[in-house]
């Protein structure tokens, strides 16, 4: 993975010193809260319900065991023994003291990590397919481009005061595991007929209170033009994006209000002006960055094939885990492993310091020291020999991290919600926990099959509920929590926004309502092979509305 050079080290060290100074001056009263707030946001420091929250950047979701151990150390030393992995492939700490944050940042810098630009109206963490560089179906690894974009966007002199946050996602396979069509810029890395690398470019996707699917504005952008084209898009956005209304300030609104054709015209005009500038990426630069992401040497481990067959027979738990939590690697002797952070009845996406240390140990021993964070709030070990899967599984069991539910109904995404977040209107975590408990039985989950539930505690949609097969949005109505259900959303290459199904349900009713939805699917599906999403797309909302509301169906 990318290693800091002297420039990177110096930059991050200087940034830590700068923020430490800003914190000291704030505590001494030399700068006001109004002056300090944008500065602390640019360093990933939020103020939430109970405490500050620190969001640490994990670029394109990739980290080493040393970095994971540091995250565990921070959880243990400065926080309350746990961290939360987010839908932007970052980690959040819920209880740091402002006075301690400079020390936290110094610790992070020692392992080449930081919290820069994880908040504020700037370009945020560039996210990528969590199986990048490993999945069998990948055309090319998107992460070098994630790194190029990260370097370009860090403390960008022109783009540090955008109308609003800006999120870029990159994927390198036909199957979109990075939800690029609900990002401000989505990049689909691919090859043209000549075998040259480039991107399909999507603009203007997003969730929040006005979910929109991105528009494809380029079928094939040569890789050399990545930064000049991205600069053109962000420059046009920076100039024309709305600053009068915080809720209309994302680029998706600009696309919608201007029109895709006209906006693309502005972008192309700007691109033409900068195409041959210093933003053009020389082949040598791209290859130099790509070199950092060269896959590890993967020795043949053919003994795994025979061993696994026997191990599966002997251990049904391992068999289920293999079935659900491993994915084909491009090397036949290897697999990509999903470490579920969705224990039955547990808090989605949370890991204790002990669990983080356990993952670091396993990664170092069995997985070439590489860990990923997925936007679905799980962890991934991209390179594990099949011959080592049993050992990895057993080590995960010991750490309470072997739940065999990747992609199943209990693999829920939930934002922190009203239990932590100052923006929330309703709690999301207890809803996730209750649904998880209701459907926790392994056989039942597998019978239901792939079903992605995503829960947000407010309209900001940090839980990505709009692209949940079942989405749940918590709102506040007459002082109490109410949960609206949406159906049929998806964040993959056939992105769709979920449809509101009817009036909301109270906290005591929502799990039952989800069960009705699931039972309706089971009753109407064409067969076991027809997933919930496919069944919904075939059937439409009618049978679900009927089951939930009967003939008494009212508007939401």
């Amino acid at each position: 993975m990318y290693r800091y050079d002297e420039f990177d080290h110096a930059f991050v060290t200087a940034r830590v010193a700068e923020f430490s100074d800003q914190v000291q001056r704030r505590l001494a009263g030399e700068i006001t809260e109004d002056q300090f707030k944008p500065l602390r946001l640019m360093n990933g420091v939020y103020l939430q319900l109970h405490a500050y929250m620190l969001r640490v950047a994990i670029p394109y979701g990739t980290l080493s065991s040393a970095q994971m151990r540091m995250l565990a150390h921070i959880a243990r030393t400065y926080d309350k023994g746990y961290g939360h992995f987010t839908t932007s492939q970052n980690i959040q700490y819920n209880w740091p003291a402002l006075a301690d944050i400079p020390a936290v940042l110094a610790d992070l810098a020692s392992v080449e990590m930081h919290a820069i630009q994880t908040s504020g109206n700037c370009i945020r963490n560039v996210t990528a397919d969590h199986f990048a560089g490993a999945a069998a179906d990948e055309v090319a690894d998107p992460r070098p481009y994630g790194e190029i974009l990260r370097q370009w966007s860090s403390v960008h002199p022109e783009f540090s005061y955008l109308p609003r946050k800006f999120k870029i996602a990159v994927t390198g396979a036909e199957r979109d595991r990075a939800a690029i069509q609900v990002h401000d810029i989505g990049l689909h890395l691919k090859k043209n007929e000549k075998g040259e690398l480039g991107f399909a470019v999507y603009v203007g996707g997003g969730q929040g209170r006005t979910p929109m699917i991105a528009k494809k504005i380029r079928d094939f952008l040569p890789e050399a033009d990545l930064l000049s084209y991205t600069t053109a898009i962000v420059r046009v956005y920076n100039l024309h994006g709305r600053r009068d209304n915080k809720f209309k300030a994302r680029i998706k609104i600009l696309v919608h209000e201007t029109g895709t054709e006209e906006l693309t015209g502005w972008i192309e005009e700007e691109f033409a002006a900068v195409k041959e500038s210093e933003l053009k990426l020389p082949e040598s630069d791209i290859r130099a960055i790509a070199h950092y992401f060269a896959p590890p040497e993967l020795p043949p481990r053919a003994e795994g094939w025979a061993e696994i067959a026997a191990q599966r027979k002997a251990d049904s738990g391992f068999d289920a885990w293999l079935r659900r939590n491993t994915v084909a690697h491009h090397h036949p002797d290897y697999a990509c492993v999903t470490i579920s952070l969705k224990g039955i009845g547990e808090v989605p996406g949370d890991a204790s310091d002990a669990q983080m240390d356990a993952v670091a140990d396993i990664a170092e021993r069995y997985a070439f020291d590489e860990i990923r964070v997925s936007h679905e709030q799980n962890l991934v070990l991209p390179h594990v020999a099949k011959a080592d899967l049993k050992a990895v599984h057993d080590a995960l069991v010991a750490a309470g991290l072997a739940t065999a539910n990747a992609g199943l109904i209990t693999d829920i995404i939930a934002c922190p919600g009203l239990d932590y977040c100052a923006l929330a209107n309703a709690r999301s975590i207890p809803v996730a926990q209750e649904i998880s408990q209701r459907f926790g039985a392994q056989a039942r989950q597998e019978e239901i099959g792939e079903l992605k539930i995503k829960i947000s505690g407010c309209i900001n949609a940090c839980g990505h509920h709009h692209v949940g097969h079942i989405g749940i949005l918590g709102v506040e109505k007459k002082g109490t929590e109410l949960y609206q259900i949406t159906l049929g959303g998806s964040g993959d290459e056939q992105t769709s926004i979920g449809e509101i199904i009817g009036r909301g349900f109270g906290p005591g009713e929502i799990t039952d309502a989800i069960e009705v939805v699931v039972d309706t699917y089971l009753a109407h599906r064409a067969g076991r092979e027809e997933t919930f999403l496919d069944a919904y797309r075939r059937l439409g909302p009618a049978p679900f509305k009927e089951a939930l509301y009967g003939s008494d169906a009212k508007a939401a």
Binding site: R26, L27, A28, G29, T32, E33, L47, Q48, L49, H50, A51, Y52, K80, W95, P96, A97, L98, A99, V347, L418, D419, Y420, A424, N425, R427, I429, P430, Q433, E476, G479, T480, E481
Partner: protein, 100 residues
Amino acid sequence: MKVLTANRLIDGEAVWLAPGDIWAETLDAADVAQDKAAEDLLELAARRWAQKNEVVDINLIDVVVAGGVIRPTRLREQIRADGPTNRRDLGKQARRLVAA
């Protein structure tokens, strides 16, 4: 009825203005404004405290007092007073258990 709440600058702890113009870490110690005059005094206190650098995000919030217990009307503020509902071992609620 209202109380004044904020977060402590140095560590983000949720606090409430108590009699004697000090910030308490528990809601039960809060100075409850029972009428408009008292509310106005809390407003003044808010503006005064905003000039210092000890607390941030200062707000007047609605409460009811029943059986001597101060309860916020909004769930959000009740959660601020207790801690996360999914981790009863964390936050102010846990400290109450330890103290008990």
